[in-house]
Symmetry: C2
Subunit: 246 residues, 2 copies
DNA sequence: CGAGGCCTTGACCCAGCTCAAATAAGGTGG
DNA sequence: CCACCTTATTTGAGCTGGGTCAAGGCCTCG
């Protein structure tokens, strides 16, 4: 009964609790999660922190508990393409599970974040051992692929204001009551790049969206009085109707 | 020893041989493949055949042995977005493995094709039983996701002529000798949509690419004298260098 | 040989990009 | 709490790649 142990196991217990809440881990038993927690680390990361760089080997899977992280690549011309932006409930680095040692993109914290990392090999082992878990991972990857398909379609079919609308609607997902208040989670420049447009275009498109659908923007806060109006404006160009993904 | 049996088992043997060649099935033993072959069907499909429609439940996985198949969605406006175009060695319908009963897009033969179909449940069972196979499926899906990531980047970073160049380069992949002769596999309209552009734009962009890199086009045949020149022109905008995917 | 479907070309338009400059918004040290 | 510096955001002006519409040309197949 070393004096250090109570503290340590308390911390591990905290991690284990967070892991239990991850949808991906639903098929796992507590003792498995405890095993993960043993090797996992929970860390508070400051805005600007680089978790890993592109073209770099990486051994961990990252679970975002809070804050925002962007995944990005840099083109030869020097400008960045934002692949995705993740927040609470998302994870990344799973690409490594499929034998890609070098990450195809870098990861940077864009809003102070709490992140749990787990060594990749633990998950890989569990996938081999527990086919239910393997299936869960496969389903997750499949969903991501479908989201990418949609994204590609959106980029050619939607106008800039509509893309912003679509982005805002995804943030609404939970809120149902009509006056919705959102906080733009991070730097508007990052949002712009996430949506594949320049910051100037983003600014103008947001103004247009404001006129068109009557939403209000104050700094990083967005208020939507009439969600239906926003849906009508945004989703008219799309091939699937509103709550466009499961 | 019914008279029918020799014929049937010969046909099944043919199918089994095709299945053996699928990279996805590498981790499977012959007896497993034999089991698949028992329920599988090999069919010659004519150009224009619709294999399934979007928003429709589907129970099969499709392996393309020859010819070309396009996967597509239709937008409300009525124009089609080509999600992907597949040929020998590719397969589709795996989305169904992750519990998506309704297909998110339709499949149509765009060039006479031979296709093997396997009931989805057989693969699903095997995934649960054989974790090596499950891992192979996961890796495949992961690769597809990464390809989508690249595609999204390409759409914003590359010009129309560059996108065509990129497309041609992928078709070169095997040929190494410098004078390369390619046959555009299908309808130029389909290629255009696959690349996210209008047929008119495709035509103009192809002319530009011809001037720029000295390749020659005669009907559906493309001759490339200087692959390096094409690479230089095409890949200059990209974030990864030439043979851009494994 | 004719019809319909591709493919190409021309003319014009417009969303979004680029360059440049003016403002706003934070964050920091005093 | 304020002045100052740095980093976002907005706005203006002009450009351009690609879309749209419309008209031929060409090739294929019946």
């Amino acid at each position: 009964m070393n004096a250090k142990f109570p503290a340590m196991s308390a911390s591990k217990a905290v991690i284990q609790n967070h892991l239990r809440l991850q949808p991906l881990f639903k098929p796992l038993r507590d003792e498995t999660l405890a095993g993960f927690a043993e090797y996992a680390a929970l860390k508070a990361e400051k805005k600007g922190a680089v978790l890993f760089s592109a073209e770099t080997p990486n051994e961990k899977i990252y679970f975002v508990l809070s804050g925002w992280v962007k995944l990005f690549r840099e083109t030869l011309a020097g400008d960045e393409a934002v692949v995705d932006v993740l927040t609470a409930g998302n994870f990344f680095g799973e690409i490594g599970l499929s034998g890609h040692d070098e990450m195809p993109y870098g990861a940077e914290v864009v809003e102070d974040a709490e992140i749990i990392t787990i060594p990749r090999f633990l998950l890989a082992e569990e996938i081999m051992r527990n086919s239910l878990f393997g299936m869960a991972v496969l389903q997750n990857m499949t969903r991501q692929r479908l989201q990418r398909d949609m994204e590609i379609e959106h980029r050619t079919v939607q106008s800039a204001p509509q893309r912003i609308g679509c982005f805002l609607l995804k943030l609404c997902r939970d809120n149902t009551g009509d006056p919705v208040v959102l906080h733009l989670p991070y730097d508007k420049t990052v949002v712009a790049h996430r949506l594949g447009m320049q910051p100037e275009t983003f600014s103008r498109a947001l103004s247009k969206l404001r006129e068109e659908t009557g939403l209000r923007v104050r700094g990083a806060t967005v208020e939507i009085d009439n969600v239906k109006k926003l849906v009508d404006y945004t989703c008219s160009a799309c091939s699937s109707s509103f709550p466009c993904e499961d």
